[in-house]
Amino acid sequence: MLEDELNVNIRHRDGVAVIDLIGDVTTFAEEKINGAYRQVTAQGHRYILLNFRQNDYINSAGIAILIGIVTEVNQNGQKLAVSGLSPHFQKIFRMVGLAQYAEIYQTEEEALSAFRRLSGVE
């Protein structure tokens, strides 16, 4: 009960792999998040959006998991963005420095239009 499972759902929109993270991003989430990232990478996706749900719980273990994803995204030449974070977690992402490597958007739609502009330019 207290391990509150994270539900991970993968969608494909406009050439972007959208990974919905529904629930809490803590140490229990590691396998699911890494698994989803590996899956979309194996499918050859360059653009990845981590779509959070407002007000879920992200702790330092969750931040470590996300830094692990950013490390691989950089190595694999992909682009990562995040959406749906509450103002508190947007602030924490900026404090930690994650925002330098994964652009923060308020909503999924805003992130998708930014990816569209990016893929149009490249």
């Binding site: 207290l2 702790n59 470590a64």
Partner: protein
């Protein structure tokens, strides 16, 4: 409803009515005793958030408090008590007129090194390391007004944090 295993967490409310002079200062202390199992930090987070809301803290401060207390209790569970469920994490929430004092103590299977309490990780360095963690204590220090690590009377680790009621939220970086 909170009921897990045979080690049920307890919540105790103590009214320490120290009448100090004419002001009649009342300190209320809430004590939580939590099993050392990951997930129980949420009980402390929810309790502290509920208390802080009643005290009139702004939403941003309550979010900061949730994160800080979650990290403190998680450290106590995983590090101090080495996730031995029989060992307790004791959380004291002391309500004062203009501040909330949070103390989190473990039973000290493993003591915190002083250097561990002063880490300031940098993400570019962390990319190179296998272990991407080490952000918890740094976050606590960034988010709370005061953070102090000492030894608990019983020999465990004790972290004491204070959040002031009238201080404006820390600005974004």
């Amino acid at each position: 409803m909170i009921r897990l295993l045979d080690s049920t967490p307890t919540i105790r409310l103590g009214g320490m009515t120290g009448m100090s002079g004419a002001e009649g200062v009342t300190e209320q202390v809430i004590e939580l005793r939590l099993p050392s199992r990951l997930g129980y930090e949420r009980i402390a987070m929810d309790t502290a958030a509920s208390l802080a809301r009643r005290m009139g803290f702004a939403d941003e401060r309550i979010d900061a408090l949730r994160t800080a207390i979650g990290e403190a209790v998680t450290n106590a569970i995983e590090h101090g008590n080495q996730a031995d469920e029989a060992m307790k994490v004791v959380v004291l929430l002391t309500v004062r007129p203009n501040e909330l004092v949070i103390s989190v103590s473990d039973q000290g299977r493993k003591a915190l090194e002083v250097e561990q309490t002063k880490l300031r990780p940098h993400i570019a360095d962390v990319f190179q390391r296998a272990d991407k963690g080490g952000w918890g204590i740094w976050l606590m220090r960034e988010l709370m007004d005061e953070v102090e690590f000492t030894l608990a009377p019983g020999g465990g680790n004790l972290v004491r944090m204070v959040v002031h009621l009238e201080r404006m939220p820390i600005s974004d970086q």
